[in-house]
């Protein structure tokens, strides 16, 4: 293998695939990045066996030459050291040459690195996913980023019920329904999508960790679309020159519909930020106590947010509301869980439906039926 590649393209690709490389892997070859030089460009691959990322650098792009291939081939290089080296090289183009003993010479300007390569034959093969045979969903990149941000925060971090560490994706009738819950709170986002086959039904659970890594790779270019290809045990997100593979979680996701109250005894409509900031302030005195619990009490034209700590003192704040309907209410809840939900709602105004102090309450942005966030209260009042 022998090729020349522009530094900025190589750095970008290395940054992408590094998101899948874990230093704590038990498979030694996966501490490396696989580099494949073919006639149409260079492909970098990183994997921790749950997530695999392939980043392709085409020979040229927008009339700019990225890569020159003198001899095709492949090599695996220690990911950490290779990414450090690439970033620090002194020139705009980098030459990489591999000999038959896998010794890899990286030359840039007057700097010459000679690295001991690893055998590319040992690197696991990524699943070959044929777009023809599978269900493809298309979703705008910025929309996908929103969906991830608004659901993945609520997945469970505990391995006691592994299925809850993922986000459930339900695809049918041109709709994508995403749900996550850690059994203390729940997030749901429903949105229309483009599918190849509208009658088809898909139900998968994607690990939260994979979605977090995918989120970091998706840049803010909102024009591009992401193609999502679902197989039995894998999902593949394809965007521009990146292929992002994730395994799926096995098992049945619990039916969350029965958790969401359909009635409401107290309904308040108020500013998202107004409530968020009042809870943030109240939580300052609640942090030390267990559970980070704050209280809400309804008044005629406002809700009062309060908390106290025996050691530090107490805080209360009146938050004005647009509308308040139904029964008077006193309720206690985790400031942390509620702030995490509120901070992911972009709408200026929210409606919260309460069904008493002991039942979960439901937060919805006003003017958007597709988003729902549910929080379980805490018994203290």
């Amino acid at each position: 293998m022998k090729m020349t590649v522009t530094k900025d393209k190589l750095v970008e690709s290395v940054n992408h695939v590094m998101k899948a490389v874990s230093s704590r892997t038990t498979i030694p070859i996966l501490t490396g990045i696989k580099i494949t030089a073919s006639l149409d460009g260079v492909t970098l691959t990183g994997s921790d066996s749950d997530v695999s990322i392939k980043s392709f650098i085409p020979l040229s792009e927008n009339d700019q030459q990225n890569v020159t291939i003198e001899k095709t081939g492949q090599i695996v290089l220690q990911a950490k050291v290779f990414s450090d080296i690439v970033r620090k090289l002194p020139s705009d183009t980098i030459e990489i040459e591999v000999d038959q003993r896998l010794i890899t010479k990286i030359t840039a300007g007057s700097s010459e690195f000679t690295l001991n390569g690893l055998d590319p034959e040992e690197y696991p093969l990524l699943p070959v996913i044929d777009e023809e045979d599978n269900n493809i969903v298309t979703i705008k990149k910025d929309l996908l980023k929103h969906v991830i941000r608004q659901t993945v925060y609520a997945v469970s971090t505990s391995e006691t019920r592994p299925i809850l560490t993922g986000v459930k994706w339900d695809i049918q009738n041109g709709k994508l329904d995403c749900v996550s819950t850690d059994s203390h709170r729940l997030a749901q986002r429903v949105l229309p999508i483009t599918t190849d086959d509208e009658t088809n039904y898909q139900n998968i659970v994607i690990p939260g960790k994979s979605l977090n890594e995918l989120y970091k790779i998706l840049d803010d270019n909102s024009e591009e679309s992401v193609r999502v290809i679902i197989t039995n045990n894998q999902v593949l997100f394809k965007v521009k020159n990146i292929d992002f593979f994730s395994r799926l979680l096995d098992g049945n996701y619990p039916d969350t519909n029965r958790l969401i109250p359909t009635d409401s005894k107290t309904t308040i409509t108020l500013s998202t930020k107004g409530l968020l900031h009042a809870i943030e302030r109240a939580s300052l005195l609640a942090k030390e106590e267990r559970n980070n619990v704050v209280k809400l009490r309804t008044h005629e034209n406002s809700v009062e947010i309060l908390s106290q700590s025996a050691e530090l003192g107490r805080v209360y704040e009146d938050v004005p509301v647009e509308k308040i309907e139904g029964e008077d209410l006193k309720i206690s809840f985790s400031a942390k869980l509620t702030m995490e939900a509120l901070s992911r709602i972009d709408a200026q105004t929210i409606q919260i439906n309460f069904t008493g102090a002991m039942r979960p309450f439901v937060i919805r942005p006003v003017g958007d039926d597709g988003i729902l966030m549910l929080v379980l209260p805490v018994r203290t009042f």
Copy 2:
């Protein structure tokens, strides 16, 4: 005590004094910030008993009202929670009122905090330093920042010889001579300063930790001067509305002059950044090995920087030099220590004097006699 203060001024002052507050103090009252409302403004004080910082907010500044005092008095409030609260308060002005039981009410907009205050009588008194009776040195703020950056990095982090954890300041004949060493490297900066009494001689050792905190407080307004007042066991830095107190280290600082070679067998003149970046790259393969050692070898018109790791591979790079004089040389040294020195030299070109592979080498910026950085080599070649 009862007063109103603008939020931005209070936040700024709290940020300053927080730099002295440690959560790991053994003196409970020092986990607090002392607030003193007097007729001319508000003073905040934070201390960890080694460093104490006083920040004063005058009633008004540049025709802008900062503070209104309704009733003078003082209180100590938990530093962490008070600083969090102040930052998050919803309005531009904050009212603070303390009752006789030390209960402190903080009101801003519709938010009301009631904090349990601590007894201000328990707060240790800061030394009263009379400017009349002591030696005062005046130094431009940006120059002081440079001096700190170029010396404090070389102090020892080990407590086996406590005196080496400080920077020695020698003041005489209108000159300030700063030296630090951890016995593996040494930094020295000499500069002219303004003293009240030119004939006076001062020799103090300031803890590196104090100088690091002082550095963070000094902003980049280069017009201001800092007055440095030295007493027997304390140094006070006065700038604008901030008083920064540090204790001094006890003991005799070793004579470092004998460590600095006066002769030179090999002298090279080259680009500071060129050498720095070549060493950075070479260190990428040296990191894993102990000591992070790289090698330098002189050639006719260049120096070669190289390193190797049995596991990873090797790297070499030719760095062009402006001038090279004297004997041929091969020398090994710590990449980390040398990079720390080089990255603190602002001059484009440096001269390095070597006196053989086993003796310390001396780096000096070309065109500035006031700065000297010395590194001990490692025996490997």
